[in-house]
């Protein structure tokens, strides 16, 4: 792609970051961080399956963005680029975590327990048993995602949790539209095998 994109919604903000001498999380870069922190963290969490690794991957994502933003030339959308960095950081971290001979103290807890604390509001509309059952289902689904291969995980998270279009996924993962389609087909096959028993167990099929 030779011509820089001019319809990128983040164009002005990224240009402001490039023009400004940021020494830390301030100014235009702070705005960029605020705009993307939820998306980046959730992407990292769903791919790594661990809050600890998600923190590390998210930090690495924003540190990379901070270091390289001066060289960003809008050959793709900024959002596609930062998703790409987040996916790669998460996959790399997950690979390193899997090969470590030691265990993080945080891993001793269930990944789902590290997430949003239970909201007391939930208790008023849902019985404690219902809330627990839902959390168990969410944990089982996350486990199923974690068992997918890195490529399947990435495309599943970007498409169905981050809501990216085929074109955006193609840009983020630097693959053709045809590859997006074929990879999604394979992902559905894998999801069918992983999720069908889970949903059957929870009587949701």
């Amino acid at each position: 792609m030779s011509q820089p994109l001019t319809d990128d919604p983040d164009l002005a903000l990224v240009r402001a970051c490039q023009a400004q001498e940021s020494v830390c999380l301030e100014g235009a870069f702070r705005e960029l961080y605020e705009a993307y922190k939820d998306r980046v963290y959730n992407t990292c969490y769903r791919i790594t399956g661990s809050a600890t690794d998600a923190m590390d991957a998210a930090q690495e994502t924003f540190a990379t963005a901070f270091r390289r933003i001066d060289g960003f030339r809008f050959e793709s959308r900024f959002s596609s680029w930062i998703y790409r960095v987040a996916v790669n950081a998460s996959i790399d971290l997950r690979r390193r975590s899997a090969s470590r001979p030691w265990v993080s103290l945080d891993r001793l807890r269930s990944p789902l327990n590290e997430g949003t604390p239970m909201d007391p509001e939930d208790e008023r509309v849902e019985s404690p048993g219902g809330a627990a059952s839902r959390r168990e289902l969410e944990g089982d689904i996350q486990e199923a995602i974690t068992r997918l291969s890195p490529k399947m995980k990435a495309i599943t998270v970007l498409r169905y949790m981050e809501g990216l279009s085929y074109e955006e996924i193609s840009e983020s993962l630097e693959i053709s539209l045809g590859t997006v389609k074929s990879r999604l087909s394979r992902a559905h096959g894998a999801l069918d095998r992983e999720l069908t028993p889970v949903l059957d167990r929870h009587l949701l099929n």
């Binding site: 963290y41 923190m55 103290l105 969410e138 809501g163 999604l184 096959g189 949701l204 099929n205």
Partner: protein, 234 residues
């Protein structure tokens, strides 16, 4: 190692020529085309597969959005501080009002702590760093600690154990003295207006009292005169 289960025989797969259209109709904002709808009405296999996929996608999309932990901003702030890791450790130490020491000995402390962090690794916030400094002092008489700091706190580098650890246990590798050093804080951290450390050494190592450089290190960090009182005394 997990083995992906084979597709159970009772789960139908969609017709290959309709697979892409089936999948494209899923996800946020997707619209099912008329021709696909017509096909689903006449093909039980595709209808069943499409129903399953739709349910699975709904469950995936229904997973909760997680709140970003506040520690991310904190650790990112430190990670983005300019300079090498020693500069960043020094910056973090300088930011803490509790640590006053002559430059030469601060440099020694910085070197000791910075050696524990990989390049561009996250550094903890000042409050956690104080804990790390204190722990480093505890390790003066033992081996050097190996602690990896992650974005969410301290992480032990001990090998996987059969039973989970009951608390943070740090493995150390550099011997400064043979026996453990027991330090009792005589002031509460936050009670004094200047919030300074004060340590009373109650036990030296088996080989004798603390060495001068160890006392100097304590003095540098605490800003107080330190002496070794020998075993059992206080």
């Amino acid at each position: 190692m997990h083995t992906t289960p084979k597709t159970p025989s009772h789960l139908s797969e969609p017709c290959s020529e309709w697979l892409d259209a089936c999948i494209a109709s899923l996800g946020m904002g997707s619209v099912e085309e008329g021709s696909l709808t017509e096909h689903l009405g006449s093909c039980p296999a595709c209808a069943a597969a499409h129903g399953r996929y739709r349910n699975q996608v709904a469950q995936l999309a229904g997973l909760p959005r997680l709140s970003v932990p506040y520690q991310l901003e904190e650790s990112l702030g430190f990670a983005l501080t300019p300079g090498g890791r020693q500069d960043r450790v020094l910056a973090a130490l300088t930011a803490s009002p509790r640590l006053e020491a002559p430059d030469a000995l601060r440099h020694q402390l910085v070197e000791t702590l910075a050696g524990d962090f990989a390049d561009e690794e996250a550094l903890p916030a000042p409050a956690a760093l104080d804990g790390l400094v204190e722990q480093s002092l505890r390790d003066l008489a033992a081996e050097r600690s190996t602690v990896r700091v992650t974005g969410s706190g301290l992480q032990s580098t001990r090998p996987t154990q059969a039973a989970p650890p009951t608390g943070r246990q740090l493995r150390s590798i550099t011997a400064v003295a043979a026996a453990a050093l027991l330090i009792i804080a005589t002031n509460q951290w936050m009670s004094a207006p200047e919030a300074s450390y004060s340590f009373t050494v109650v036990r030296g190592n088996d080989a004798g009292p603390l060495q001068p450089h160890q006392l100097a290190m304590l003095a540098a960090v605490t800003g107080r005169q330190c002496s070794s009182l020998g075993e059992g005394a206080q």
